[in-house]
């Protein structure tokens, strides 16, 4: 048991608090047992579990580091000998130990109720599902607080509420995914449940597949928490784990080719091209997510340049940001896709769209870096710029009848077919040049 976990035990699990939790839950379950058939101890336990572990637990997880910063104890903790793992798990599970205490009582009630009513198998599956949902909610809130800490904006009540909200949203997504394999819930929501899931051409039973998927994603989120904690403790992370995640997510998403609608434009593509397209789209999406989340630190980018100038490429690779790796993964897989489409005689249409897509990503990340190098609320400025480029200008062009220019601002085919990609890449190179010059200009100003 690590020091941080033990400290949290001191603070969270006092005799008075334990007695209070037991008394309240006993009252709730007694009330549900003696009330009408619409409210059973099982349903009461489910509701209380969501309240205590997901909603309240996400708040406590998001607050665990923020509280240290507010109390000015965080630097002391960073200067201790506590390992990154002890610190991460000590905070994540220590700050929420009271929630898990209440949650454990709820889970026990569910299991006992399921056993007593002959639904033990369902109760066991639900047990694991609820544990995963709780871990996901709290871990996402905790991860959000760590990511915000890197961006040096983490202290206010609103910040904590946002971390909590992200945790709850993650739990809702996890619950929603689980419900797709739950006949009862699916009927309630008016959707058809699915008993099997085709993945990489293999038909797999939905419940174990989804439960395993949720568990693996929970594992990746926990890995993210651990790595962010390492970074806070000034330890180098290296690129391998993120590259491993990219490999996993690329393969995972590429397996869902059978879910693409058959009437789509790509209906005549073969399965390899579809899977490459899914993987590259996933990497592109991750590039946008990570460029938004990570601090676009121009000091770091100048440091990259100085290390490259002194031929220390290895050091740069060890400190590469996740959005940069995701960007290059998207580029690499897209180039393979383009080559594949040419090779298989699909003509220039799809390759042109893919090349334009790469240009748009290059332009957009350059816009993020450009604004980060010049102002404080840089992400907001970058998002407004992208909104103008993707929504406002195309709307104006459409309105004044210049539809032929839409391909300069929106990933859509152009005539002639290579005009759109060419213009998009001119935009991308201009944005990249502006970003690089702004970062370099900052160097001169700093000196």
């Amino acid at each position: 048991m690590g020091p941080e976990f033990r400290r949290n035990l001191w603070l969270e699990l006092t005799t008075r608090r334990i007695a209070f939790m037991v008394a309240i839950l006993a009252l709730i379950f007694f009330a549900s047992a003696v009330s009408g058939p619409g409210w059973t101890p099982y349903s009461a336990a489910e509701t209380v579990y969501y309240l205590v572990v997901v909603i309240w637990g996400a708040r406590n997880a998001g607050l665990s580091i923020v509280k240290e910063i507010r109390d000015r104890t965080w630097d002391l903790q960073r200067l201790s000998s506590i390992s990154a793992a002890q610190m991460a798990w000590g905070k994540l599970f220590g700050a929420t130990i009271y929630n898990w205490f209440g949650g454990a009582i709820c889970l026990a009630v569910m299991l006992i109720y399921g056993l007593a009513h002959g639904a033990f198998g369902k109760a066991i599956l639900d047990f694991f599902h609820y544990v995963i949902v709780g871990v996901v909610a709290q871990a996402v809130a905790f991860l959000a607080s760590l990511v915000a800490l890197r961006r040096r904006s983490a202290h206010s009540r609103l910040d904590v509420f946002l971390y909590q909200l992200l945790g709850i949203l993650a739990a809702v997504v996890a619950a929603y995914v689980w419900e797709t394999a739950d006949p009862e819930s699916a009927v309630l929501l008016g959707r058809k449940s699915t008993e099997v899931i085709p993945w990489w051409g293999v038909v797999i039973s939905a419940r174990p597949f989804l439960l395993l998927s949720l568990a693996i994603f929970a594992g990746w989120i926990l890995t993210g928490c651990y790595r962010e904690m390492r970074r806070e403790l000034k330890m180098e992370n290296g690129p391998l784990v993120w590259l491993g995640f990219l490999g996993f997510i690329g393969l995972y998403v590429a397996g869902f080719d059978a879910w693409l609608p058959h009437e789509a434009l790509m209906a005549n593509w073969n399965v390899v091209a579809l899977r490459l397209a899914l993987a590259s789209t996933t990497f592109a999406a991750l590039t946008y997510v990570m460029v938004l989340l990570e601090p676009k630190d121009r000091v770091l980018y100048r440091w990259y340049a100085s290390q490259i100038a002194s031929a220390d490429i290895g050091r740069v690779l060890r400190n590469l940001q996740a959005w940069i790796m995701s960007y290059f993964a998207a580029v690499a897989v897209s180039l393979v896709l383009i080559w594949w489409l040419f090779e298989r005689g699909f003509g220039a249409f799809y390759p042109a769209v893919a090349i334009a897509g790469l240009g748009f990503i290059t332009r957009d990340v350059s816009i993020f870096v450009f604004f980060a190098a010049s102002r404080r609320r840089s992400d907001f400025a970058a998002l407004v710029t992208l909104f103008a480029l993707y929504v406002l200008i195309p709307a104006i062009l459409d309105g004044v009848g210049l539809k032929g220019m839409l391909s300069f601002f929106y990933p859509t085919p152009s005539r002639p077919i290579w005009l759109g990609p060419a213009v998009v890449w001119v935009e991308a190179i201009a944005a990249l040049g502006l970003a690089v010059s702004r970062v370099a200009l900052g160097e001169k100003r700093a000196v």
Partner: protein, 304 residues
């Protein structure tokens, strides 16, 4: 003990440290002084391996902060300006947590806690919650947390801010005893008076640079600073002192700040010579404001 070479640290909009190089010898108490915004806290955080420099290096006991930050953290004790206490925990639990978090062996934790509490004079308040302590006692508890693992280097950020005179005196005695027990201390402050009692060396930082380019020796046990005052102004005062082979730091027609051997006979001879030369000596004594005098004499010189 601490070695800094060509340290550059940048915030996104500002270069906070520019080519800082210095050496801090072991078993000394070094004052890190300078005006607000000079870069003191940034330098202290770089020394603590809490910030990664843009270029240059910081070594603590030959460990580079970039290469081995966690090993350096294990060597350090740190007292932030707000002491960093858990108000809900008792003094005993605060110290126990600090001992655990610095990796002290489970069997040695209790004795380390008792020793640290004794050192900072809190052994009679072990069960009092940190939140119930006065400011002076909170500061002591903060130091207790920082020294429970007997670090080789202790970094203190404005340790005496807000303390009453008795608490400041206690702090001076405690820091001197820690130095004598083998620790190297770096104390950041912009209040020179509070550093006067215990600092022997000084790093003056301004505009992200070390003024004078090095650690300045403030007090020399063998050759202390003396202040000489003469009642009637004499233009040849400086010339006389130089002819007498005295190391003059500052001089005008009425006053001189010199360093001179502590030897009583040698001092008596200097006074005799002054009087024999017709100087009306109205004061001859050891300077009690060495730090302040050094600070202002160096500060005007600008950065190296």
């Amino acid at each position: 003990m601490i070695e800094v070479r060509d340290l550059v640290y940048e915030y996104p909009t500002k270069r906070a440290l520019e080519g800082v190089s210095l050496d801090v010898p072991p078993q000394t108490i070094v004052a890190l002084v300078g005006p607000n915004g000079a870069g003191k806290t940034t330098l202290l955080r770089c020394l603590a391996a809490l910030e990664v420099p843009y270029s240059g290096c910081v070594r603590i006991e030959n460990l580079d902060t970039r290469e081995a930050p966690r090993r350096i953290h294990a060597l350090l004790g740190y007292l932030p300006d707000f002491y960093g206490l858990y108000d809900e925990l008792s003094v005993r639990r605060c110290l126990t947590y600090a001992a655990w978090s610095h990796g002290i062996d489970a069997n040695a934790v209790e004795s380390a806690v008792v020793k640290a509490a004794n050192q900072v004079g809190l052994s009679d308040r072990m069960e009092t919650k940190a939140g119930e302590l006065s400011r002076g006692l909170r500061q002591r508890l903060g130091i207790g947390q920082a020294i429970v693992h007997e670090p080789k280097v202790l970094l203190l950020d404005e340790p005496a801010a807000g303390l009453d005179p008795q608490a400041r005196r206690d702090l001076s005695a405690l820091l001197i005893s820690l130095r004598d027990s083998g620790m190297t201390l770096v104390v950041s402050s912009h209040i020179l008076a509070e550093l006067e009692d215990y600092c022997s060396e000084m790093i003056i930082i301004d505009g992200g640079k070390v003024v004078g380019g090095r650690v300045v020796k403030v007090k020399d046990v063998e050759r202390p600073r003396y202040l000489i005052e003469i009642a009637t102004a004499r233009a040849d005062f400086e010339g006389f002192l130089k002819d007498a082979s005295v190391d003059v730091i500052e001089v005008d027609e009425h006053h001189a700040l010199i360093t001179h051997t502590r030897n009583a006979a040698a001092r008596a001879k200097l006074i005799r010579d002054l009087v024999a030369a017709g100087f009306e000596v109205s004061f001859f004594g050891e300077s009690s404001r060495a730090l302040e005098e050094t600070y202002f004499s160096q500060f005007g010189k600008g950065a190296a």
